[in-house]
């Protein structure tokens, strides 16, 4: 455990890892899903699995926004980007996600006006600076990011910016967790709850997981010690036969969430009856659209898009990896046809995707050791 010395509180980390080893039941297998892509990244980056006994298995969940976006939505966005009057804006991690006609970056190379922004407010500013163009923001993300889009739309309305619109792909984490719990091949014992999503929605909404499904949830911070403490809390609950929502990240996550953020979400967005998730299929009530009052700023109303469903390459097993049924390196394409340089599935695109994280921090080490 020498590398632990680089972390903050190495003594406390050792103590926590030792306690996990002490309390686990030897003949039991624990499958714990971290829902959030930031946690996936942290776990691989710090090699936390190495600090855990072999019978604790960490399974990577669906909490990476670009990973769960189906290719058809990318194609719809890129169809808008191809229009001559449009300035298409998106966050950087969207820029390398392939649609059937290529990625936004490749579209830009072919002449489309595609621009990376760091904030939806940057896109709104572009609209005020370019009144003769149509500025479209390709919105993506969970409840962490959706309030930012909501406040930007409220701002667009109050400033009366009529050449700005949003192509909304915001998704909700709780219906995805429910879909995983309802999936017949799902065998998860407990969940590490997302950190920053929960600053918005709070800890309370996870209670259904404990109440209806009898599975424990611990909302966690992102440091090695946070994650180890959360795992220890889950193991203790499981050993004692408890199923509760506990908040390890209470220093940042309030039990009832952020009220202004929740109000902004409710004012601007309505829940879609269903939405397709890459790898997970259609999930009811799992995504947001703009309310009818904001139709003037809805890119799906303003522009006609193909709206064609595109299936992923058959050989890619993104769905199994996303549901935690298959570890990344067991996919037939992993590290061969599908690499971070040439991603086939979106899990290989984002640094938060389980496949990219595995490739960078496990596969690379194993290969180097050959």
């Amino acid at each position: 455990m020498k590398y632990v010395d680089e972390f903050r509180d190495p003594a406390l980390i050792r103590k926590t890892a030792d306690e996990i080893a002490r309390v686990i039941e030897r003949d039991r297998h624990y499958r714990i899903m971290e829902v959030c892509g930031g946690h996936t990244f942290s776990i691989y980056r710090f090699g936390l699995q190495r600090l855990l006994p072999e019978n604790i298995e960490l399974v990577h969940g669906p909490g990476c926004p670009v990973c769960v976006l189906p290719m058809g939505r990318m194609d719809d966005g890129l169809a808008i980007a191809a229009r001559p009057e449009v300035i298409f804006t998106a966050f950087g991690d969207v820029m390398r996600v392939p649609g059937r006609r290529g990625t936004p970056l490749e579209m830009r190379a072919k002449g489309a006006d595609v621009r990376m922004v760091y904030s939806p407010l940057d896109a709104l500013k572009l609209a005020t600076e370019n009144p003769d163009r149509q500025v479209v923001f390709f919105a993506i993300g969970f409840e962490t990011t959706a309030p930012s889009t909501a406040l930007t739309l409220l701002r667009a309305r109050s400033l009366n910016v009529d050449n700005f619109s949003v192509f909304c792909n915001h998704v909700l984490i709780l219906p995805a967790i429910r879909a995983i719990l309802d999936s017949p091949d799902m065998r998860i014992d407990g969940f590490i709850g997302p950190g920053h999503v929960s600053t918005v929605i709070g800890a309370r909404p996870y209670e259904f997981i404990a109440r209806e499904y009898g599975k424990p949830v611990v909302i966690s911070g992102f440091e090695p010690l946070d994650l180890l403490q959360s795992i220890l809390m889950l193991i203790k609950q499981l050993n004692q036969g408890r199923a509760e929502v506990e908040n390890q990240y209470a220093r940042v996550v309030p039990w009832d969430g952020n009220r202004p953020a929740l109000r902004a979400l409710a004012e601007v967005f309505a829940v879609r009856p269903f939405f397709e998730w890459r790898g997970l299929g259609f999930i009811s009530q799992s995504a947001l659209r703009l309310r009818d009052e904001f139709a003037a700023w809805d890119a799906e109303t303003r522009f006609s898009v193909p709206g064609v469903r595109v299936t992923d390459p058959k050989a890619a097993q993104c769905g199994e990896v996303l549901k935690g049924v298959l570890p990344p390196n067991r996919c037939k394409l992993f590290g061969r046809e599908c690499t971070p340089e040439h991603p086939v599935g979106a899990l290989m695109v984002s640094s938060e995707g389980a496949c990219a994280a595995y490739y960078h921090y496990v596969h690379a080490m194993v290969t180097a050791g050959d």
Binding site: E6, F7, R8, C36, G37, G38, H39, F41, S42, R45, F46, G63, P65, V66, F91, G92, D93, V94, M95, M116, V117, Y118, S119, P120, L121, D122, L124, K125, I140, G141, F142, T144, T145, P147, S148, L151, P194, G195, H196, V197, T199, V200, F222, E223, R251, V252, N258, R259, P260, A261, A264, S350, S351, E352
Partner: protein, 106 residues
């Protein structure tokens, strides 16, 4: 990216509490603080920033921990580049220009 960026409030820009200048490791940019209007954000407070918006008020110690976490994850320079890239506010004095880099959703 889910990993939020810690920044210190330098000054508030309007009475409604929508905008403030924030300092992230020496880079000063305007951010939106509308989500924290119930928290009474004031100069010298630390906040966690995500895509140009303050998401949570945090303590000095938590801010240091978060900066160290970003450094340990190799994400500190990306964080500064993200903040440098916010262009919706007026540039504050003493700004440092940052190179363009990929921004992250989360």
């Amino acid at each position: 990216m889910c990993l939020a960026i810690p920044g210190q409030i330098v000054r508030l820009l309007d009475d409604e509490g929508h905008y403030a200048v924030v300092d992230v490791s020496g880079v000063r940019r305007t951010i939106n603080i509308g989500l924290l209007r119930e928290d009474g954000v004031k100069p010298d407070d630390w906040v966690l920033i995500h895509v140009g918006f303050a998401m949570s008020k945090i303590s000095d110690e938590q801010a240091k921990d978060q900066l160290r976490l970003l450094e340990m994850l190799g994400e500190a320079s990306m964080a500064i580049e993200e903040v440098s890239g916010y262009s919706f506010g007026e540039r504050a004095e003493g700004d440092r220009e940052g190179p363009n880099h990929e921004s992250k959703s989360g």
